[in-house]
Symmetry: C2
Subunit: 402 residues, 2 copies
């Protein structure tokens, strides 16, 4: 052993990456990408003033990004002010694509999103996955991925990575499903089962839904709480534009926040968890309905048709949600709460009780509650966009793949 090259002892105080000129360049490349991406189309000079570098510096950065196929020169802008018009730059529509996938309880979906954020290819397969072994399900998913990748390539895109949204807890390693009760998957390593050659990330659908809200929602703040529900109730905490994952990656388990400490026993071992009052099963039972597929759609239709029992059940669920969210809001002081997933469709009947509870139990102005307009597409889009964001956040990585 002649030379321990780096002594990578991870200091307890956190990683201490060296701050080198290359890193600086990489970050500035990312800034250029983000600036152009945010405005859709921008001249070099405009980018320079946005990110605080000189025109000359931006020019060299842009040259490189164009060479890598991440930016495109659209040609001269229509002159608005005095002076020579700039040459419009836009994020490339023929470069890398993010492949997003979703394993739902009764469907599989895959889509490809380009750097501009446009969905360029998609594939869906309906059919219940609950209780099936992971093997065949993932095999079908792989087929869909291959089709979408082929379609994307036909449009001049190349896949930069694959992100999969699953309805369950995912380990912090980013590819193992620890526990997905609605699929009955436990400790399933998707990394081993998905033989696409693509870099893989797996995450909770609630997390991807929250990211979609952050990136695609109109005027979504950088600090918010995203609540969604399929069968369980999951929340995602976004702090300063970043997902809070927790030590084991289990953060956001809103469904098991105690609402009535002496309430009925829950599968988690506790009593009176939120899920006992606002979970799909609980609401159906309270409404006097049978459990079935598309239960959420049924609830919405019945509530819309003035079904008294359903309305009362949803009202009570809203109350329970309000109590749990009061705790969360007191703890986190977020800028807003966003209802997504199945909750978005039921919002009209949940919101009154929920907001009343929140207003009563909080001093000062209550935390605003918004409804996601992304609906059930959130997790899939969030997954695909997470790959795209990774490219925008560090464009230099794609250069290595040329």
């Amino acid at each position: 052993m002649t030379a321990p090259p780096h002594e990578t002892r991870p200091t307890a105080t956190g990683r201490a990456l060296p701050d080198t000129q290359q890193g600086m360049r990489r970050r500035n490349l990312a800034r250029v990408m983000h600036a152009v991406s945010a405005e859709g189309s921008l001249s070099r000079a405009a980018v320079a003033s946005r990110i605080g570098l000189t025109r000359a510096a931006v020019s060299t950065l842009v040259d490189e990004l164009i060479r890598w196929g991440l930016l495109e020169e659209l040609g001269p802008e229509r002159p608005s002010r005095v002076g020579r018009p700039g040459s419009a730059l836009a994020v490339s529509g023929h470069g890398p694509a993010g492949i997003g996938a979703e394993v739902g309880v009764d469907h599989l979906a895959v889509c490809a999103v380009d750097l501009r954020g446009a969905v360029r290819a998609r594939a869906v397969r309906h059919g219940a996955n609950r209780g099936r072994n992971p093997g065949p399900v993932v095999e079908e998913l792989t087929g869909l991925v291959r089709r979408v990748v082929a379609d994307a390539e036909r449009e001049g895109l190349w896949p930069a990575g694959l992100a999969v949204a699953v309805p369950g807890l995912v380990a912090r390693d980013g590819h193992t499903v620890v526990h997905a009760p609605n699929l009955d998957w436990h400790g399933t390593d998707l990394g081993a089962l998905l033989p696409t050659g693509l870099p893989l990330t797996v995450d909770n659908e609630a997390n991807f839904g929250a990211l979609a809200e952050l990136w695609l929602g109109d005027a979504t703040p950088r600090d918010f709480l995203h609540v969604s529900a399929e069968i369980g109730i999951g929340a995602a905490v976004v702090v300063d534009g970043q997902l809070l994952r927790g030590k084991r990656g289990f953060a956001g388990e809103l469904g098991h926040v105690p609402v009535r400490p002496d309430g009925p026993r829950c599968a988690c071992g506790g009593r009176g968890c939120l899920e006992q009052y606002a979970g799909e099963e609980a609401v159906l039972r309270a409404a006097g309905l049978e459990s079935r597929e598309d239960a959420v759609g049924l609830l919405a239709r019945q509530a819309g048709a003035d079904h008294e029992g359903v309305r009362r059940a949803l009202h009570d669920a809203g109350t329970a949600l309000g109590i749990a969210l009061t705790g969360a809001v007191n703890l986190l002081d977020p800028e807003s709460v966003v209802l997504g997933g199945a909750l978005a469709g039921l919002a009209p009947w949940l919101l009154p009780a929920l907001e009343a509870e929140l207003a009563d139990r909080t001093t000062g102005p209550a935390c605003p509650v918004a409804v996601s307009r992304l609906g059930h597409e959130g997790p899939l889009l969030g997954a695909a966009h997470s790959v795209v964001r990774a490219v925008l956040d560090d464009p230099a990585t794609v250069a290595e793949r040329l």
Copy 2:
């Protein structure tokens, strides 16, 4: 208007500071300071391998830091391995000092901490502050600050800033006390009242207590929940080594998390808040005791003397805390929960019920609950150290003051 110099439009996507070479240097200076500070004493070569720069680069950084009086050369190390021994570097004990202050309900305290973390001067004044006007209280505090600053200067230190811990909510501006019920201060701007020439930061004592735990506690993780209580119950959420403050700076209001949604009315407007069960007043009432000064000490003594009513009251408080913390732990998945402030002294009687609730209501291994060993000193030390950390985090700022 010849040239809009920077067009500082704060982009919705967050600040986009230009990544310039100067910024790089500043961050590397900070890395050197942190490396030396963490190990106590380190050679240039050791620093270089820790932070991933070359020895030559570190040499120039160290030269500068020594010139600014932030590092000291201690001379040759005792040789342990083969090869020329390094020259030990240490953080200076004669440079800038952080001045911390605490406004308690019945005391004022000020201390000075040097870059090494040692307390070098202190001053305390006992006497109830509850209900007194801010003016005279702050005037007394100013006197203590002046004394401590003078003492510190006599030891060759110079004050780099003042941080004040108060028992109440502080606005995100960092100097206005929005609401301190136990002092009866409301909307008090300490910036205007503290005429020291020093840069001022004001924050909640629970926040400073949590930071003290993070920086001074043994093996405290970077993701934890710090719970403290004086009269109210405050928590501080630390995520990735950073305080989570919330939109208005009100994050961590654990005291008003609903524990029994139909419980007694609370001053906050809600019902059955944690404070109704585990707040000082509530515990005293449940124990059949009168409210008085040093109520916590009284409770601890009585519980230690096997007073049955007190024990039961504390047990019930522990249960309520456990319920509220279950919610918080489910939401945040922290690495641990730390009991600080008054709770630390009462921990022996709170913990059993608290941990039982937490274990019962959580799947998998329960989140570990630790007791702070900093006790009532936490907020004061945290305040002083926050100034010290600011210097370590950006040593270049002190150069401007030479």
